[in-house]
Structures are given as C-alpha cells and as structure tokens.
C-alpha cells in the first residue's frame, strides 16, 4: 500500500477497537441494571400461574436469582464474554439457539432493506441537492419526508392491501413451508441457503417473500439518506474547494461528481452506522407486520410472555451488534477519508 501516512491506519483501527470494550461494558451494565435490578422478580413475572410455588423457587435457584446482585452481575458479564447469552424462561432454550434460528432472517431482511435504501436514497438525495429548488427537488424531498413520516406498519398495511393482494405476493413469513422443508440448512440463513442449493423455484419463492418486507423497511431508511445526502450536497456545492475547482475551469460535471458528491458522501458513511440502530428498531416492526420469522418478532413474542431471560439475551446481542457496527463504520470511514487517520 502506497498510501501516504498509511502507517497510522492500523494504529487508528487498533485504538478504535480498544475503545469498543468499555463501551460494550457500559451498555451491558445498563442492560443489567434495567432488566435485572429494576423489575423485582422476573421468574414469577414470566412463569407465575404456570408453575407452583415450589417449582418457581427451584427455577429461581437454578437461574441464580436468589444470589446477591453483584454476583449475578458478575455471572452475567462473564457468561457474555464466553458467548453465553443465557436461556429463555418460557421455553427454556439457550438464547444462542434463538439467535441461530432467527438471526438469519433478520440479517437478510436488514441487508436487503439497506441495499434498497442506498440504491434509492443516495441517487435521489444527490439529484435533489444538485438541482436545489427545482421541481425534482420538491418531489424528492416530499417523498423523503413521507417515507420517514409513514410508520412501517402503515406502509406494510398499504402494500398488503394495494400491492400484495392484486399481484398475489405473499405477505407472511420468509418462505413457503415447502421451500423451508426442501432447502438444506448450511449457513442457517435461508436467503444464502437457497442460493447455495441452486433451486430456481425456491430462490424465486424466497425473493418473493423478501420483496415487500425489504421495501417497507428500506423506505424508512431511504428518507434519512435522501435528507442527509441532500443537505451535504448543498454544503459541499458551496464549499471553497468546489469554487476553486470551478475557477480552474474543471468541467461542471466533474466538479459536481468528484468534488461535491464524493465529499458529501463521507459523512453519510458515518451516519450509516447510526441508521443501523434505526434499522434494527424498524426490523422489529417490519417483522411483526409481515410475520417475518426474525429476532425482532421473536423479541416481541418473548416480551408478551414476560420472558426476562430471552429479552435480556436478545437485547444484549443487539447492543453488541450496534457497537461492533459502529466500529466497522469508523474503519470504513478511515479508509475513505484520509483526514480521519490523523
């Protein structure tokens, strides 16, 4: 690599990675305080009425709820370090298995949604910012505001009534039962597994099921991208270096593309990290709307069951995912923007 100052890049990544550890610790502590310290007795909340007093006491004992809080806290942290996220109370299975069985669906949904949001949002934002106050700008901005203002389940509702019904698209689940049955689980992510199987009808089936949920979730983020890209373009179009490039007689198109657009997209990368949090929140709603068998839907089910163990485990996983994504974003950012490495 002949990058100027390339020596500082690995160091920057290392520094940033080390900072992740205290951040995760703070978040884990927060999760523990909120879910374990605040609510009183989770076991009877989850299972009260289903088991008799003796069985409840046994469960409490087994889960360590009668030990001092500080010991429970230590248990929690050390088990997370061992990638053990606890067990669910209601159906008594390791949270890790829940993640394995449902995480793939959430991953493919969020990835597809993210792709749609990028492909739609960034070009629209560029056009709106470049041709400020034109008719295109007005329409695009309104579209951006509407996609943000329309709640996921409302978009889902409209798509189900006005699109899925006339076109005969599926509105529930990630695939037909037959597909789930025939495709061999390799990665435990159905989207990848069908492509590995090479089964044409199964691929079509999975993509058909993915289409509406992904569009619904994608539209949510797309509005954020439009707004952000547009504002950044407005700022970079007025920047000193764009004027300087124009003073050198560089083609208007090249000035717009190389100077204004590229610089406008740098902060977008940073914000993508923040959007991931929004995306996860949106995934919960999308999954409930389309009955998508992902972690978000599972979380809602466990919440309605008052299952603290499952909620704590899933929330912990989400928290760690968010922190790791933000680390990834910072690294990408450093690769793109030479100034960051300083």
């Amino acid at each position: 690599m002949s990058r100027a100052g390339s020596g500082s890049l690995p160091r920057y990544i290392l520094q940033r990675a080390v900072l992740v550890i205290p951040m995760i610790w703070v978040i884990l502590t927060l999760v523990f305080v909120v879910l374990r310290v605040a609510p009183g007795d989770p076991v009877s909340a989850a299972l009260g009425g289903k088991l008799d007093q003796q069985a409840l006491d046994q469960r409490r004992e087994a889960l360590g709820f009668n030990r001092p809080l500080i010991a429970q806290y230590w248990d929690y942290l050390s088990s997370v370090v061992r990638f053990d996220f606890g067990t669910t109370f209601s159906d008594n299975q390791p949270v890790l298995h829940v993640i394995r069985d449902n995480g793939g669906a959430t991953l493919s949904l969020t990835l597809a949604a993210f792709l749609i949001a990028l492909l739609v949002g960034i070009p629209l934002g560029l056009v709106a910012g470049r041709y400020r106050d034109s008719a295109a700008d007005v329409v695009i901005r309104l579209f951006g505001i509407l996609t943000y203002a329309a709640p996921i389940f409302f978009v889902g509702f409209l798509l189900q009534v006005y699109v899925a019904k006339p076109l005969g698209l599926p509105t529930s689940g990630a695939a037909s039962p037959i597909t789930v049955f025939t495709v061999k689980p390799v990665t435990h992510i159905l989207l990848f597994d069908v492509f590995l199987s090479g089964n044409g009808t199964a691929i079509e089936d999975v993509l058909k099921h993915l289409l509406l949920p992904a569009v619904t979730l994608g539209l949510l983020i797309c509005g954020v991208f439009i707004r952000l890209v547009r504002v950044n373009i407005l700022q970079t179009m007025q920047s000193d270096y764009v004027e300087a490039a124009e003073a050198r007689g560089i083609d208007r198109g090249k000035v717009t593309w190389r100077h204004a657009f590229r610089n406008a997209l740098v902060p977008v990368i940073t914000v993508i990290g923040l959007q991931f949090a929004l995306l996860l929140g949106g995934a919960v709603l999308t999954e409930s709307t389309f009955n998508w068998p992902g972690l978000g839907q599972k979380l809602v089910v466990y919440i309605n069951d008052r299952d603290y163990g499952a909620v704590q485990g899933i929330v912990t996983i989400f928290a760690i995912a968010v922190v790791l994504i933000s680390l990834l974003v910072d690294i990408v950012n450093a690769l793109v923007d030479p100034r960051v490495r300083y």
Binding site: G5, D240, E243, A245, R248, I250, R258, R262, N263
Partner: protein, 354 residues
Amino acid sequence: MSIELIDEPVGVHPQEPVISARDVRVWYGTTRGAIRAVDGVSFDLAPGETLGLVGESGCGKSTLGRGLMGLLPDGAKRDGQVLFKGRDISSMSRKAAYQMRGRELAMIFQEPMTRLNPLMRVSQHFEETIKQHAPALSRAEVRERALETLRLIGIPPTRYKSYPHEFSGGMRQRLMIALALVLRPAFVVADEPTTALDVLVEAQIVQILNDLRRNFGTSMLLITHNVGIVAEACDRMAVMYAGRIVEQGSVVDVFKNPRHPYTRALLRSTISLRTTGLNFIPGAPPDLVDPPDGCRFHPRCPDAMNVCATHNPVNIERPGGGRIECWLSGPDDQIPAGGKQPLKQEGLAVADEA
C-alpha cells in the same frame, strides 16, 4: 534557473493589454436592494505586469477580481466590457468563458486551507486541471509539468502524492499558486493571497508572486489591503474606494505623489519604521446600497469642496501618469461657480452611522 520555462514569449503584441476592463459594474442582490460593490471600473493590464489593487475591506476589490473571473454568487449581475487579449469575455457564451478559466485566466484565493479537495491527493488536483485543458498530454507529461511547476514554487517532488491536510497553510498557498499557474495562464487574479498566513510565510509568498513575471510571464491583479505588499510586488497600483478606482498609476509615483485624498490617507495609515503615531481615516466606508451623491469619499474627505457633494468627479489623466477621479485635480472648467469653496462637513457622526 528558470528562464527556459517561458516556453514562448507570451503571444501578445507588446503594446496590447492582456486585460482591459471598461466600465465594469458588479452588483449584488440583497434583501435590502442592490449592493453596488463595483460601480464603473476601468483599467488596463499589460503583459507581465502586476497591478496592485488596494482599498479598505468592503470597497469592492474582491468583487472586482471575482467579477473578472466570472465567479459571482447567485443574484449578482455584471456588465461593462472585460477584454482579454482583445476578446470580450463578458459577452462570450457561458461555456466559452468557463473554458477560459484555468487555461487563460486563473485565480489564487485568500484562504488556502479550504481550497483543496480534502479527499484528493495533490497529484490528482494537478492531473485533473492539466487533463481538463490539455487532454492530449500523456500521463508522464502531465506529471512532468506538474512537478516542474511545483519545483518553481518551492515544493519538493516527494510531496506530490500527499493529501492536502498534510501541508501547512503557507505550503497550501504555494500549492494553490502552482495549481493556478501550471497551465501558464496569461492573467491571474490573486485575491489577498497572504491575508490568512503568518508574517514570515507572507514574505515568502510575496517573494514567489514577485518572481512570477520572471518565471511565468503572467500578468497579475494582486488584490490586497496591505500597501506594503503593493510596494514590494507590483508595477502599478489602483486605489479603490466604494466600488470605484479613484486613483491609479505607477507604484513609485503614487507612493511619492498621492493625488487623491483617500490615497494619501491610506498611505498614511500604514505603519512603518518611521511611524510615530497611528493614523486612521475617520468614519466608515459608505453603504453601497445607497452611496452618497457626488464623490463617494466626500463625507470623510478632509479636503472636500462644495462640488464634491453634488457632482460625480470626472475620470481624467493623472499628472505623472495614470488616471484619477477627484475634483481637486480638476478639470476646473467643469466645476460650477463657488464649487471650490471648502465643504461644511456636518460632522463625521453622520458618515459613521451609514
């Protein structure tokens, strides 16, 4: 060391000016009305000549420089003639005028820190600029040309692949100068090129600008509020006040015999070794939305006469060469009777409020 770089003696007849501005006006739109930032300015610039444009902040000197380049914000209007080697730029098509930038006309800006694209290497800036105007050049030729220019400006070739943020302010201004001159434009506008730099760096940049004529054969409009720089780096100077050039002539002559009261005040207000007290010009520059009648300087002028408050001064030949517009220098036959009486100033408070 660098004489070989004047690859051809600039292709103009010695007497024909490179730039010839005739009655140029540049007005800005605002929420209150039009600001007459440049209001009827004429000057000529000979090949290889440097004209220093001085005046207080807000007198329109930067606007004039940008107006010549065609770099104006939305809502600004320009008229008058700007002849570049005999062709009128202001009546050209937008596209044709745009294409002249960088190749024939170049600009050096005030603040070098933000003028380079932070995501592009120095090399990419040069390649982009050269390729834009000389697409036939090979990669190697482009590189050679860029490095040659950088060398003349004092930047070692080892820094060619660096990013802008790896340079100091002074170095970045050198880069901007090199970038402006890499295509050997015939005319450069330098808009306060040293204002944002510290004093030692300023001296180096002034030296570089001073060498430009020798190295590049470029004509330059050097905009500055620092009279000292004009004395060091310019052949002729033009003094601007409230949108008009009130006096222009050779630097030596204007410094020795300033004719316009504003020029005198401006020269007096600079600090030198012989300075014993601080001089300043009382009052503030006028509001350019609604400039005063007659001579725009009359409310602050110590020598104002009655005629100054009512009649625009006439632009005439300046004794000692150049042009001047001030009733003190005449023409006497156009001054109405009693016009030479000293003007009763209503106190400078009025001007202060403007």
